[in-house]
């Protein structure tokens, strides 16, 4: 008795009936002494062929859209499997019922109702075939008796024929003994493109390429099938339209009772898609391998027992293990990790991933110990590798050398530290805010100026801490921070801003506020830098005061200059007039002693004094303004001094002084005659003034490369504490009540001397009186042409 049993179902709704059925087959088959080494998709045709008594008779049914919706009916010459066929039939029937219910309810999950309808029909058909087989009936003709549809067929055979005819995914057709097509089904038409009427009767070599035909391949197949009962291969076949497809071909010889070959059953399946998918898988695997090889991170994979199955070059470099040496070893051996700081062994993540199926990141501060002992900080993660069924088949470990990152982190930390130190030690006050204008940081100077500690100020609105007013009006000043946050620009404080410290102290400050920008350019805060301006303000005040004073002095000197100049004009007229008067008086009178002549002479003397005073003022203004100049010419100091002494002899005699001159030799040099005369006259006048009644000694000589003029008097001398200041402006060595004058004589004398590059000093004589000593360079400081203008 030949039983038909169903093999495998893999249906739409995700439930997998296959394993259960398979298990049953295997159990029963093995108990009957058959080996069933097939996989989930049932026995292959080759496997079927290898099992005595097992015949493949039905291939596939199911909706073409759903891969794997496969059922297979197998005939079996064994009564022991009959009840299994019944169970299979029952399963198909329940499946059919379920789909019928879904069709009625419209719960098709988006599937085409027509296809579902067809599936139900096929399930019913297959269940019917199986049920008959289970009852011991002959459900289908043995393969040997499968023939093209005939009128004399039994109902079962007819149904089986219908089943074959309706199979779409397999081309199932017969060849006669000569290899001509004798039957054709829907699957064959679909696969090969021929309608039944086009192909029936034609030789099956029509399905082969010219090359295959030329080398006699079709005939070879039939010969093998005849010899061995069966021929199976995968290869390229040609469709009607000439296109190729990758076909799985099984040709089974059909024999009559006498054993003669009556024809062949040929089952062909299009595996182009599978091949393409296999190619794609292979390509993906190659890509994956290449990716793993070239990936910048280290990758190690293990199997479900935690042994290394794969590692890439980076992993080899970091662990120091070659792939060849590492494969098959426990991961802990290859991937030894410790705590970076304590060096204590760190927990290996693989065991936990295998146990819990979670993705793990390594703890921070993990270091990998390479095979040679080198420790490297690493970052890593471990993830389970899951099969399609969800079971964990291994762990993939991805890790990376963190040495450079760690160094970068250190640099970053150092920079932060440096910045903090800088902020801490900077002389200006610094306050930083966040994007909402609240205090985020302040340095000690800012703490000192505001009176707020950073701890107290953090998180407060800036205006609380940085309370600014207009320095003059005391009206609250606008905080620059709001504007910075609004406009994103650097804002300087208005002038005259004062900061009110927490204790109420107001200090003038200068400041600016600038936006802190995040990497994306948005303003993430404001940094405010300000400085106590109190000292600057005081210095500025002092500077202004000094400038005012200097300006006053300058204006006074300018006034002196103008006044002296203006005075000269009337004096000129006056003096000429007086001279003219004296001339007239002399001409009119007979004696120079006439009262008119004497009075004119007195007036002349006063006008000369007036002139001298004006000249003094003019010189003074020039000296203080730094515009004093001398006109050098070659002259003899000895004779010049002699002339000056002569001019004063009468005056000296009036004051009871004799002037003794000691000028034995000419002393020639380049000097300003008028100024030398003034120097001499001033010193002599000074001696007369303070040494009334005492003789005056004047000496002219040479000391080294200098001309020396000495004037000694026998007067009151100079109080020691005045020696340093008698050459100052408006200074006197004695009370102005007793000794009149502007107190400018010695000051101007020193200026005249110094204008020549000379020196003057005063001292008290051992006995009585003062001595003045003037030294003048014999030649000018730089080469000046004879009589040329002074520099």
């Amino acid at each position: 008795v030949t039983h038909v049993i169903a093999a495998h179902f893999d249906v739409f709704d995700g439930a997998d009936y296959g394993p259960r059925l398979r298990f049953e087959y295997e159990r029963r088959a093995v108990s009957l002494g058959h080996a069933f080494p097939w996989g989930m998709h049932g026995p292959s045709s080759t496997q079927c062929a290898a099992m005595p008594g097992l015949r493949l008779c039905v291939a596939v049914f199911g909706a073409p859209r759903d891969a794997g919706s496969l059922a297979m009916a197998v005939t079996f010459d064994d009564d022991g499997l009959a009840d299994l066929a019944g169970a299979s039939a029952a399963m198909l029937q329940s499946l059919s019922a379920r789909w019928r219910a879904r069709l009625q309810a419209g719960h098709l999950g988006g599937r085409d109702p027509a296809q579902c309808q067809e599936l139900v029909a096929r399930l019913d058909l297959a269940a019917d075939v199986l049920a008959r087989g289970a009852k011991g009936a002959t459900p289908a003709a043995r393969p040997a008796s499968v023939r093209p549809a005939e009128a004399s067929q039994t109902p079962t055979e007819e149904r089986f024929r219908l089943l074959v005819d309706s199979v779409q995914d397999y081309a199932i057709f017969m060849l006669d003994a000569g290899g001509h097509v004798a039957s054709w089904n829907v699957g064959a038409e679909r696969l090969k493109g021929y309608r039944a009427d086009e192909i029936l009767g034609r030789h099956f070599s029509a399905f082969y390429s010219a090359d295959d035909i030329a080398r006699g391949h079709p005939d070879m197949e039939l010969r093998v099938a005849m010899r061995d009962g069966r021929f199976a291969e995968e290869g390229w076949r040609i469709r009607k339209d000439g296109s190729r497809f990758w076909a799985s071909v099984v040709i089974t010889a059909m024999r009559d009772a006498a054993g003669g070959v009556t024809g062949f059953a040929k089952v062909t399946r299009d595996l182009t898609e599978r091949r393409r998918a296999e190619d794609a898988v292979r390509l993906r695997e190659e890509q994956l391998a290449t990716t793993l090889q070239s990936i910048g991170d280290a990758v190690i994979a293990t199997n479900e027992s935690g042994h290394v199955t794969m590692m890439n070059p980076v992993a080899e470099a970091l662990t120091g293990w070659t792939r060849a040496n590492a494969l098959g070893r426990p991961l802990e051996e290859v991937f030894e990790i410790v705590n970076e700081d304590t060096r204590a062994r760190a927990q290996n993540p693989v065991a936990r991933v295998l146990r819990e199926g979670v993705v793990l990141g390594l703890a921070n501060h993990t270091a990998l110990i390479a095979r040679d002992g080198t420790a490297r900080p690493i970052a890593d993660s471990a993830a389970p590798i899951r099969a399609a069924t969800g079971e964990i088949t291994g762990v993939v470990l991805v890790f990376r050398d963190q040495t450079a990152d760690r160094a970068a982190e250190r640099v970053l930390r150092e920079n932060e530290q440096r910045l903090a130190t800088t902020l801490h030690s900077i002389g200006d006050a610094v306050i930083a805010t966040d994007a909402t204008g609240r205090v985020a940081l302040m340095n000690p100077v800012a703490e000192a100026l505001t009176g707020w500690s950073q701890g107290e100020a953090l998180g407060r609105r800036l205006a609380d801490v940085f309370d600014i007013v207009n320095e003059e009006t005391r009206a609250p000043a606008k905080s620059p921070v709001d504007r910075v946050l609004r406009e994103g620009t650097v804002v300087g404080l208005a002038n005259h801003t004062a900061l009110i410290a927490r204790g109420g102290t107001a200090r003038p400050i200068a400041d600016s506020a600038a936006p802190i920008r995040a990497l994306d350019g948005s303003v993430s805060g404001v940094v405010l830098v300000f400085r106590d301006q109190s000292q600057e303000r005081a210095a500025e005040t002092e500077r202004l005061r000094l400038a005012h004073a200097q300006e006053a002095v300058r204006m006074r000197d300018e006034f002196l200059s103008i006044a002296a100049h203006e005075l000269r004009t009337p004096i000129t007229a006056l003096q000429l007039q007086l001279d003219s008067l004296a001339q007239t008086a002399r001409a009119a009178g007979t004696s120079a002693d006439s009262p008119l002549a004497r009075k004119a002479e007195k007036a002349q003397q006063q006008s000369v004094r007036l002139t001298t005073l004006v000249d003094t003022l003019l010189d003074l203004s020039r000296i203080t303004a730094g515009r004093f100049e001398i006109a050098r010419e070659e002259l003899d100091l000895a004779s010049l001094v002699a002339g000056a002494v002569e001019n004063l002899r009468a005056e000296a005699a009036n004051m009871g002084c004799t002037i003794r001159l000691e000028a034995p030799v000419p002393v020639r040099g380049f000097w300003d005659a008028m100024r030398l005369e003034q120097i001499t006259t001033n010193l002599l006048s000074n001696a007369l003034k303070f040494g009334r009644g005492h003789p005056i000694d004047v000496r002219v000589g040479v000391a080294g490369n200098r001309a020396r003029l000495t004037v000694d008097d026998g007067g009151i001398g100079i109080p020691p504490h005045d020696l340093d200041r008698i050459f100052g402006r408006f200074e006197r060595g004695a009370s102005p009540n007793h000794y009149g004058g502007l107190g400018l004589g010695l000051y101007l004398t020193r200026a005249y001397v110094e204008a020549h590059g000379g020196t003057i000093r005063a001292d008290n004589k051992p006995g009585q009186g003062a001595t003045f000593e003037v030294d003048l360079p014999l030649s000018p400081p730089s080469t000046v042409p004879t009589g040329g203008p002074a520099p």
Binding site: R568, I571, A573, L576, Q583, R622
Partner: protein, 137 residues
């Protein structure tokens, strides 16, 4: 009052201050010179080009409105008809000596001027040949 040989002793005084101009003219007259007065350089040029008696000497102030002494002297020297008239500077400029050299003046007097010095300088400037040394102020 003017002596018959007055034109031989004509002296042009160029001075903007009327008091000084007045007293200078007076003392020159007292000393038998024939003073001709001009209040600035431009006026002096007009006098010289008017065709009157040619002065023997020009007493020239430096700082004057309209045309300064320096400007006048430059024009005078460029005009051959008057270029030869000697010039005596009378100025308050402390650097009178240098200016006198620059302008090619016959001499210089620093204000305030003493009468003796003035007369000596005038005589020196008029006496041929021209003095080689300048009179002291």
């Amino acid at each position: 009052m003017t002596p018959p040989h007055a034109h031989d002793r004509a002296v042009l005084i160029v001075e903007d201050d009327p008091d000084i101009l007045d007293v200078l003219a007076q003392v020159l007259e007292d000393n038998r010179y024939h003073p001709i007065c001009a209040v600035h350089g431009r006026a002096a040029l007009e006098v010289l080009r008017r065709g009157g008696p040619t002065p023997r000497l020009i007493l020239l102030d430096l700082m004057m409105p309209e045309m300064s002494g320096v400007q006048f002297r430059a024009i005078q020297q460029a005009d051959p008809s008057i270029a030869k008239i000697p010039v005596l500077l009378i100025t308050a400029d402390p650097c009178a000596e240098n200016v006198a050299r620059t302008l090619g003046a016959a001499g210089w007097l620093r204000k305030p001027v003493r009468l003796d010095a003035l007369l000596t300088a005038i005589e020196g400037a008029l006496a041929p040949p021209a003095p080689s040394s300048l009179p002291a102020p």
